[in-house]
Amino acid sequence: MATTEVRPEAPATDAGYVTAPYRARWFRWFTTTDHKEIAKMYAVTAFFFLLVGGTLALLIRTQLAAPEQTLRLPGLEVTEQVYNEMFTIHATVMVFLFLTPMLAAFGNYFVPLQIGAADMAFPRVNAFSFWLVPAGGIVLFLSYFAGGPAAAGWTSYSPLAGPQFSPGNGVNLWIGALALLGMSSTLGAINFITTIFKLRAPGMTMLRMPIFCWNMLIQSVLILFSFPVVTAGLLLLWIDRNFGGAFFDPANGGNVILYQHIFWYFGHPEVYILILPLMGAISEIIPVFSRKPLFGYKAFVYATLAIGALGTAVWAHHMFTTGAIDVKFFAATSFLISVPTGVKMFNWTATMYKGKIQWSAAMLFAIGFLSMFLIGGITGIFNATGAVDSALHDTYFVVGHFHYVLVSAALFAMFAALFYWFPKMTGRMLNEKLGIWQVVVLFVGVNLTFFPQFALGLQGMPRRIATYSDGLGWGWLNMLSTFGSYLVSVAILLFIINFFWARKRGAIAGDNPWDAYTLEWATTSPPPYYNFDALPPIRTERPVFDANHPEIAASDEDYDHRVSSSTP
């Protein structure tokens, strides 16, 4: 196969600049600036916090399993205060310490590889971004030893989170943690944008870039738009709490709605920040296992751009019931964003059409993602109306809706990506049989957990309540939901077992076990420190496929057109 020499002068020995400098193993983890090692640290940190946030979720679900109960475990009594703390920390951990770093892990590992670069644009900034994550986690959990953590919800609405109603250190440390984590994401976003714009290999035009990279790019732009804003808002809250700022105190001329605008101006793009990279990963996985190209590559690019643009203009649909916003405007933008989202859905489905779909664990997880994301998306339509939302807002219907997107869909996509990319990251294959068992358990688990929540919400169960009266008929639905959450944890446990099994005994992967399409598969598994010895020519969005299947390009009448139309 024809190759482009990226480092023609690279010495064949390990002695040159292209190898990682030798350091003691433990020391290396603290000093590394290699994007792949940083990515692994992101992934391990994120998975650790998944277990922390998941444990909190199990406690929350157990507390709610039956009406009028107070869960008592050795050393823990779930009082109203403890309950409010638990859901606050659960959401904060899952959003900022699990999903965000997990996506940073995928992005860090695969953006440089997929565009044929040797590392991120700013390797030291990259390391700094990572180390801010454990720092933020430590600050957040310090609050348990400093008078109790924040209990005002992950939204920390003022005046509830203000000095009068949330005295103590909890909210202060929560703000501190979010400031650190926000800085981590912001620096990471600058790094991704720079890497994607400046470090693409020769031939890798924007319209030949893998959809995963496109999604990371749009995600990074959204981060730049939203995180600095919320950090500023949290600073105002900090001043309110500690220096009598009164920005959000109506008694002194402040405005409590202003806080909600600032928070959700970040909060809604955040949802897309959390799901776009996963949509990107799905857009890599479905074509590879269908043995076809992605259906409508350019449509995906436009849809992603449209979601990014509209995503910054829908925030106040979280405030439909405040009586202080233009409901119609935000209903309109919220409806509109379903159009590009639908386009993605249809394209993924069409990609499978006439394919030869390998039912690998990764592909089954991806199909699970489609199925779950569809439910999350359609239930979003109910909320978008603005009118029907006046019944559903702040009930378990909304809890079900966003958990279908951020748990059901996100977990399926994350495991799809892990099964797909684990061989590249470690050189070994995860166990497929165990993976398929995990698909089944996870599918039953998430649906059992979150589907009853729609019914609960329709019947009027508000979110964030520590318990509920007997005789409302909510007990059995909550019990189902709780049982489902235990199944979800079994599914996660199966992955942990698979992970440790595969590290020792997984089959050796080779460079490209899936006959996949993009550049990360053009190097060894795991890739060397400098990533590539040589790159195949990049003429389409599937350079590795083109190199491995020259007969397809030769017989494709449209090939030249596709090459020329993706050249700037």
Binding site: P159, M352, H393
Partner: protein, 368 residues
């Protein structure tokens, strides 16, 4: 990774989904029957969104699973690649334009409902103030006042006093929401409606209950520790029952007021008993500009009590001198205090030994 699996007909999904739809449809698609005029409009929009959403859900879900099963790689397949289809511009346009039309229709329907629920009448038939606080509700009937000028008020308090908002059926009611502390949300599931109670905002909404009955309501916005206990009831009754209720509540409130702060003098002999570190009366009264006597019966064995009159509660905390201070003595015993004339006005009486537990109002007013 080809896998042999038992062939399951994808057509099996269709009856399954239809059965699910029937079950859901039979119970209002999961939403409770609305009990208000505004809720009926919201429910009809909900049903449109539900059936449309269900149709799209069923169609796409079937498509996903059909594709995944129909086009799976089989054991007998060779390694050749399937046709490499890169896309289809006409299809892309179709599945952009058709959903766009659907959401425009939904938006127009929503527009109508939003207008409907946001309508705030300038002349409602009844205006009730809803005061939210950590962690209960007060309902203030502005149109119904007591003799003192205070409006009729239903008060809630933790842990057990769950307030009931009593309203007449088929009446245009405006609920005027207010709070002095944090954000709450006034939510009646069977009205299919909620509106946030925001400090600094004048939020109000119109509601016309069309069904009599007792409906549950609850705060829907996290408002701190006991958020989950901010429950209330709405009782929708006929106009006649409502009038009876108002009259009954008024006379109860007047009687309560009489017993606590609005008692009137009758003669120059005022009797009061102390038992279990409590006065038996919350309100005492004596005629204006005339000397009177307080017959004080201390029934607490071995405990010091007295009766003292101050100008106000603040005067006690400020350490001001009493207008009258009765002798302190141990029970069980009785004393008769002679009190000099006091000018007309509302005063405050306490036991000097128990200034927080034993207090009341002392009215000096013309007799009769």
């Amino acid at each position: 990774m080809p896998r042999a699996t038992s062939r399951r007909s994808s057509r099996g999904y269709v009856p399954g989904l239809l059965a699910l739809a029937l079950v859901l449809g039979a119970c209002g698609a999961g939403q409770p029957d609305p009990v208000t005029e505004q809720g009926e409009g919201l429910h009809s929009l909900y049903l449109v969104v539900f059936w449309l959403g269900f149709a799209i859900f069923a169609a796409v879900e079937i498509a996903i699973f059909y594709m995944a099963i129909r086009f799976r790689r089989r054991k007998t397949d060779d390694d050749s690649l399937p046709p490499q289809i890169h896309g289809n511009d006409k299809l892309e346009i179709a599945w952009t334009v058709i959903p766009a039309i659907i959401v425009v229709v939904l938006f127009v329907l929503s527009w109508i409902q939003i207008n409907d629920v946001q309508k705030v009448s300038a002349e409602p038939q009844l205006t009730i103030g809803v005061e939210a606080f950590q962690w209960q509700w007060n309902f203030v009937y502005h149109d119904e006042t007591l003799a003192s000028g205070e409006p009729v008020t239903v008060k809630g308090a933790l842990p057990d006093e769950i307030p009931t908002l009593v309203v007449p059926v088929d009446t245009l009611i405006q609920l005027d929401l207010s709070t002095e502390d944090v954000i709450h949300s006034f939510y009646i599931p069977q009205a299919l409606y909620k509106l946030d109670v925001v400090p600094g905002l004048d939020n109000r909404f119109d509601v016309t209950f069309t069904k009599e009955g007792r409906f549950r309501g609850q705060c829907a916005e996290l408002c701190g520790l006991s958020h989950s206990q901010m429950v209330f009831w709405v009782e929708v009754v006929s106009a006649a029952e409502y009038e009876d209720w108002i009259a009954g509540t008024k006379s109860e409130a007047e009687a309560e007021l009489l017993a606590t702060t609005a008692c009137k003098p009758s003669g120059t002999k005022v009797e009061v008993v102390a038992k279990d570190i409590k006065f038996d009366k919350k309100c005492l009264a004596a005629p204006v500009d005339s000397p009177f006597e307080i017959v004080f019966d201390n029934q607490d064995e071995g405990i010091d009590h007295n009766v003292a009159i101050y100008t106000s509660e603040e005067a006690v905390t400020a350490g001001e001198k009493a207008l009258f201070q009765g002798e302190i003595f141990k029970g069980v015993d009785e004393r008769t205090y002679d009190v000099e004339p006091i000018a007309e006005g509302q005063y405050f009486f306490i036991c000097d030994i128990h200034p927080t537990a034993m207090t009341g109002t002392f009215n000096i007013a013309p007799e009769g």
